[in-house]
């Protein structure tokens, strides 16, 4: 059988998670580089299989079993193991979502295989496929290869590929159903309903200007410095996760993978180092200004304007200048 790539798309309650298109784009790029066939699979809800079949893929599999809803890592890993053992793809790609993180290490281990997780790209040189991922919170990058047998598992970080670049197929790909058999007793967890904590009071997704603070703010009382700058600019105050974990700002002001994803005209990052989990929530900002005393902070990799220095020296005169400019 020819080598193939399988993209496992993600669905929740019968709706496709849009980040899946990014993984399709990644799969199409790797297929173009390697000449391998690209196929896709949906676990649990065949309603989205038709949507995926519109893309340039050879086939879409709908992996079905009544036990796949609601999601449990036990059922997902068992169903995919059966499917992958039957189909033997060379490479299995998924988006690096919380759900995928929950079951992929289990699935790969159950098959005696490994997953290169949270990748941001791939390279294919001289027949060798390597995956690029960030290390040390984005300070360094690594090219990682598989040294084990296929199937190989890799997951891609949100935003690593453009979902809107996923190519449509000339005609709809065929959809094939695969019935997974999940024995009694396999599923040990009993998940309850998904819920949202008290309504989010602050919607930062609509903000045009955001002033965000990170660990560099040092103490809770210093938050006011950032607040004053946000006020002077007519913007909103936000923070990286550690600030909200410490209770210095409420959780609904958190930007990043576990908080809000924003794309304002201006994102002013004060004392934020730029861990990946924060960056994924703000890298779509039109202009990023970063102030940080560490010249090697990863935030500078994505900043349009970089100020290497102490925020306590720089922000007070900046507030004055902004006030002057506004008259």
């Amino acid at each position: 059988m020819a080598d193939s790539i399988l993209v496992v798309v993600e669905q929740r309650e019968g709706k496709l998670n849009r980040v899946s298109w990014e993984t399709i784009t990644a799969g199409q790029a790797i297929a173009a580089a390697t000449g391998w066939t690209l196929e896709a699979a949906v676990v649990g809800a065949n309603a989205v299989a038709g949507e995926v079949a519109g893309k340039k893929v050879a086939k879409v599999y709908a992996i079905e079993s009544a036990t796949l809803d609601p999601y449990t890592p036990d059922a997902f890993a068992a169903a995919l193991k059966q499917f992958l053992t039957a189909k033997q793809p060379k490479l299995v790609l998924m988006p690096h979502t919380y759900q995928v993180r929950d079951f992929v290490p289990k699935l790969a281990t159950a098959m005696g295989r490994t997953c290169i997780s949270d990748c941001i790209g791939f390279k294919h040189d001289g027949g060798k496929l390597v995956f690029t991922r960030q290390m040390f919170q984005g300070k360094l990058a690594a090219d990682v290869s598989f040294t084990s047998d296929a199937p190989w598992f890799a997951t891609f970080q949100s935003g690593a590929f453009r979902g809107d670049k996923a190519e449509d197929g000339a005609s709809a790909a065929p959809v094939e159903t695969f019935a997974a058999e999940i024995a009694d007793g396999v599923i040990r967890n009993k998940p309850q309903e998904v819920f949202k904590e008290a309504k989010q009071a602050v919607d930062l997704t609509q903000a045009e200007i955001i002033v965000a603070v990170g660990r560099g703010i040092k103490e809770q009382k210093n938050i006011d410095i950032a607040k004053n700058l946000a006020d002077a600019l007519g913007g909103d105050l936000a923070a990286s996760r550690p600030i909200c974990d410490s209770g210095w700002l409420p959780m609904d002001r958190q930007i990043g993978s576990s908080g809000q994803t924003v794309a304002p005209k201006l994102y002013l990052a004060l004392g934020i180092s730029g861990a990946i989990q924060h960056i994924v929530g703000m890298k779509g900002s039109r202009t990023i200004i970063a102030v940080n005393k560490d010249s090697e902070a990863p935030i500078f990799e994505i900043a349009d304007y970089a100020v290497v220095g102490n925020l306590f020296d720089i922000v007070p005169p900046l507030i004055e200048e902004v006030k002057k400019a506004k008259g």
Binding site: D102, I116, M135, D252, A303
Partner: protein, 256 residues
């Protein structure tokens, strides 16, 4: 409850990193600290023990320097520690690290095994879940709350975009803990003193060698990432920086 906490020593957040000569790992001469999510996992274990009695055991792998993480955990209140001590543990992939841990604790019965949700160095977010599968245990990830129930535990999973979910599960189980699940405690002076007399079991590589195999993946090359964005440096004395920034805000970004 008998709880195992898997902990890792990682380079300090602000530490400048240098590549080794072969460009496959960092040079060892940096400052280290405990992986932050693991500190939250330890704190949660200590709180569960305070509520339900039992024992908290901490485990790590790595060279002699990694013992510092265990000493700190003992000072905060962990009862005993296990150190898989060898330089070569640093180079193991997540699969083999989990196998080494499983081999080191094979004669023990834990009700809960906690890890941080991911490490600040690799960021793979896999070792805990792999360990669960190797040991045949149920797991749940990115946990923000643990409650003991009649039949096991009820945990609160963090999902994306502000969503959560409670999950009932039997014990023994493996949980990966999210930062911010609790408020971290500091070690007390008396705790630091007591830590010195608490048991710390060293496990040599030879003891777990038969359980581990070749790595399943390999770092071919570690490097400083290439910048994809053009960044303009704004420098000078603070007052001048402020003027330059306001000029950008007004004339280029047009937000003033």
């Amino acid at each position: 409850m008998k709880i195992l906490v898997c902990m890792k020593q990682v380079p300090q957040k602000d530490a400048p990193l240098k590549l080794n000569e072969s460009g496959t790992w960092i040079r060892e001469d940096v400052s280290y600290e405990v992986n932050e999510p693991d500190a939250y996992a330890l704190e949660e274990a200590l709180r569960q023990r305070e509520k339900h009695k039992g024992e908290v055991v901490v485990i790590t792998s790595g060279p002699a320097r990694a013992q510092q993480v265990l000493r700190e955990a003992l000072a905060k209140g962990a009862d005993r520690a296990i150190h898989l001590e060898d330089d070569r543990f640093v180079g193991l992939d997540a699969f083999n690290t989990a196998k080494a841990f499983a081999a080191a604790i094979k004669d023990e019965q834990f009700d809960l095994i906690l890890t941080g949700l991911q490490s600040d160095d690799y960021g793979y977010a896999q070792t805990g879940v792999i360990l669960a599968e190797l040991m045949g245990l149920p797991h749940a990830t990115i946990i923000m709350q643990i409650e003991k129930t009649d039949s096991g535990i009820r945990v609160k999973r963090e999902l994306e975009a502000g969503f959560f979910q409670f999950v009932d599960m039997p014990t023994p189980a493996v949980l990966t803990i999210q930062s911010g699940i609790n408020k971290l405690r500091y070690a007390t002076l008396i705790g630091i003193k007591q830590a010195k007399t608490k048991p710390l079991r060293k496990v040599a590589l030879a003891e777990v060698q038969s359980a581990i195999g070749d790595n399943l993946q390999k770092i071919e090359k570690l490097y400083v990432p290439q910048k994809t964005k053009k960044t303009e440096m704004i420098d000078g004395p603070p007052a001048e920086i402020a003027k330059k920034l306001v000029d950008k805000l007004r004339n280029e970004l047009r937000v003033l």
